[in-house]
Amino acid sequence: MTSALNHESGAADARRSAALRPGPVASASRRPVEDPSAAAPDGRAATAGGLPGAGVLAIMAVGLALGLCATALVLARGWDPGAVTVGAWTARPQVGTAAIDPYARAELARSGAVPLVAGEGLAFVATTDDTGYRLLRTCSYRVSGAFPPARVWTLTATDPDGSTLANPAERAAFTSNDVLRDMAGGVAVVVAPSARPGNWLPLTGDGPLTLTLRLYGTPLAGHNGEAAAAALPAIARLSCTGGAANADGGTTR
């Protein structure tokens, strides 16, 4: 691709030089340093003139490759201009509406996932803890604090593709119906590989972890401003098992 670009650059340069100059004499007088020989640029121009389509073709090919690369990159990174970030949580309120942006729509088409419709609820996704470190399945986290207004919420631990983690306790999620609350009505869920008292959301395996908080029947759905102002639970890292996992958690964000 690079060689094609260089070739095109030189060829177009020569073509342009030929078009601007009536003949070799003018060329010599205008560009005496760059073109000391009047015969050379003419020879190049003649060669380039024989391939007028090749240059355009090369530009098209490079542009096509770059354009497709840009699409693939953006879809792989999940970029969404309409995303709303609150602490470690990110929601995409427009994904569940007819106003979905083309990036989110293409991403959904590629993954095959179905978004939560605005009339049903809103999903917040976290891939880092509150300090910005990537969530890992070998670490323990406490998810506690305010849960936004909703008729029902669910908190789910998955891998980055959204697949639940198989575990002997057969618990992939907590809901507002089955979570244990403290005397003041507060909620704290511990997401950890080893068993904990209270609300324990088990982790298995290693690699990155994604937490999803889905709010059903929430007034936040479909409204950017309100979602941004929502108070969401904090995600605090408690500990990590294994030095490798710890080091990885410290370096990857």
Binding site: L5, E8, S9, A12, D13, R16, S17, L20, R31, E34, I59, M60, V62, G63, L64, L66, G67, L68, A70, T71, V95, G96, T97, A98, I100, P102, Y103, R105, A106, L108, A109, R110, S111, G112, A113, V114, P115, L116, V117, A118, G119, E120, G121, R151, V152, T154, T156, T158, D161, G162, S163, T164, A172, A173, T175, N177, T212, R214, Y216, G217
Partner: protein, 188 residues
């Protein structure tokens, strides 16, 4: 600026413009040609008419990625070219019930939950814009009807019926899906 750098700049601009057009075109085209989008996956899973209960999220055979494992879901694929679709879901207060409507090309165009219930049911008729006009013409001839009409942006798509159990288990919610209905109202 020398000719050489001017030409290089022009070529760069041309490449960027081509790349931009390709990028935008591929983004817009993807939802129409993606072989593995939700509709295509559901077409394999629920090939026939009527309602199909999806396996619990994360279990083998689940056709859609990234679903909520706490929610029991059934799917109804529709093709309004065969006639308007009557949709009905029972609401018994034992769980959170929600319906979401998605078009073939991936737009979530309508959703409602059990607060919209009437006499313990969520009922509506899904139709195309031209079918709604025909229905309105019938209304004026036969008197007003009380049915709720929802216009779909495309003739094809799918409806997800969700139940999140409030009391009781996931299995009970799954049984609750059996009372959901979707059927072609007047075949054309």
């Amino acid at each position: 600026m020398s000719h050489r750098s001017l030409v290089a700049a022009l070529i760069l601009v041309a490449i960027v413009m081509v790349a931009g057009v390709v990028h935008i075109a591929s983004l817009l085209l993807l939802p129409r040609v993606a072989p593995e989008d939700a509709y295509a996956r559901l077409a394999v899973f629920a090939a026939g008419d009527g309602l199909r209960v999806l396996p619990r999220a994360g279990l083998p055979g689940d056709p859609l990625p990234g679903r909520d494992p706490s929610v029991a879901t059934a799917v109804c694929r529709y093709d309004l070219d065969r006639g308007p679709l009557r949709v009905s879901a029972a609401v018994d207060g034992r769980g959170f019930v929600a319906l979401s409507l998605h078009s073939r090309s991936g737009i979530a165009f309508y959703g409602l939950d059990d607060r919209a219930e009437n006499d313990g049911r969520l009922d509506f008729v899904l139709l195309t814009a031209s079918q709604r006009e025909a229905a309105q013409a019938r209304d004026t001839a036969e008197g007003q009807t009380r049915e709720v009409r929802v216009v779909a942006p495309e003739a094809r798509g799918f409806i997800l019926f969700d139940i999140l159990p409030r009391l009781g288990s996931y299995a009970e919610a799954e049984r609750g899906l059996a009372s959901m209905r979707c059927s072609v109202e007047r075949p054309v």
